[in-house]
């Protein structure tokens, strides 16, 4: 059963996604950051879908459970494509966008296969595909985090100076890392009731950071990456 606080956090999350979507469209980022805008739109739409299923079938229903996990995997894949889109921005000047797309697809397929193999070889039986989907979602957060880290390294190496792109990548890095850490904690059987509220707040980070970037950082703003790395 969801508490009023859960509903409030859910509502806030959906509102923030809608705001981020409007900010991105107003900043004329629809074509330039298509995968990102698509992710925000999908996240908002699936949030509404989840609410509809919750009110019609209930929180403990199979329908809600399936819809939640499958839509979560779908959103994680969308976010993965968003990351690939950001990769394309950075590597476009090198003419390597095509290879990035190919590499991204191969990695996604590899992660899906490994996730399935992990579930198939585990002791637990039944619901193989559903458990594989949940596993894929978890693994993609970790893969996404590593790929964002590699992208950030490439941006520093190539002295990337587009402030908007930097902030979009960094916000995504924070999000992926936070979720990967959260899943790792869960796998360590670390139970804490308040944790689900923390996860709600974590999910708000991305729309808030992206909305701020589209609202306040113009496309032509420039910043030296050297200023963002702590002195060594």
């Amino acid at each position: 059963m969801l508490s009023p606080a859960d509903y409030a956090l859910w509502l806030v999350g959906s509102l923030l996604e809608a705001i981020a979507l409007v900010c991105a469209i107003r900043a004329r980022a629809f074509k330039r950051y298509f995968t990102l805008v698509f992710y925000l739109a999908a996240s908002f739409a699936l949030g509404i879908g989840r609410y509809w299923i919750l009110t019609h079938f209930g929180y403990a229903s199979h329908q809600y459970l399936y819809f939640f996990y499958y839509s979560d995997a779908l959103l994680t894949i969308c976010l993965y494509f968003t990351l690939m889109g950001l990769y394309s921005h950075v590597f476009r000047d090198l003419g390597a966008s095509k290879y990035v797309r190919l590499g991204g697809m191969l990695l996604l397929a590899g992660t899906a296969l490994i996730s399935y193999a992990m579930v198939a070889n585990s002791d637990a039986k039944g619901y193989l595909v559903t458990r594989a989907i949940v596993e894929l979602s978890q693994n993609l957060y970790f893969v996404g985090m590593l790929l964002t880290y590699v992208l950030w390294g490439a941006m520093m190496k190539s002295k990337e100076n587009r402030t908007r792109l930097m902030q979009l990548v960094l916000a995504l890095g924070v999000y992926f890392s936070a979720y990967a850490a959260s899943y790792a904690l869960r796998n360590l059987h670390w139970q804490w009731d308040v944790w689900r509220f923390v996860v709600h707040l974590m999910s708000d980070w991305l729309p808030v950071a992206w909305a701020y970037t589209f609202l306040k950082v113009p496309e032509d703003a420039r910043l030296a990456t050297a200023r963002l790395v702590p002195h060594r």
Binding site: A180, L223, H231
Partner: protein, 136 residues
């Protein structure tokens, strides 16, 4: 075991991304020159601000009307400031070079707060001017 390794790696990258993100927000405000009004109110005369000023400046920011859009930035930088405070306490005695860097960073946070205060003062003045013109 694997989950523990993932947790450590994720926490380390989370910290790195968060620090870089906070620095990108601070760097965007470092070129801003403070207005005479903000200098008078904040007592900050140039870019050399002590980290200890941050909390006081944050309190002054809290007194101004919110123009919208900067609350989350202030929160992110406040989080970064707390993180630096922890680094200062934990590592300060062991690594003096790190301590100097932490102090510079805390100063940058304080300058960011002064710039935010400047923007909010400008917003308040605009708001007041609008109200005055509406009354007339």
């Amino acid at each position: 075991m694997i989950a523990a390794i993932i947790l450590v790696i994720s926490t380390a990258t989370l910290l790195q991304f968060f620090v870089s993100y906070a620095r990108s927000v601070i760097a965007a405000s470092s070129k801003h020159e403070l207005s005479p009004q903000a200098r008078e109110v904040s007592g900050v005369l140039n870019h050399d601000v002590r980290g200890e000023e941050f909390v006081r400046l944050l309190q002054l920011i809290g007194l101004c009307p919110v123009p919208g859009g900067d609350t989350n930035r202030v929160r992110a930088v406040s989080g970064y400031f707390r993180l630096l405070g922890m680094a200062k306490t934990l590592m300060g005695r062991v690594a003096p070079a790190l301590l100097r860097w932490v102090e510079t960073e805390r100063g940058s946070c304080a300058y960011f707060a002064a710039v935010t205060l400047d923007r909010r003062i400008a917003f308040s003045r605009e708001l007041m001017a609008q109200q005055m013109s509406n009354r007339i």
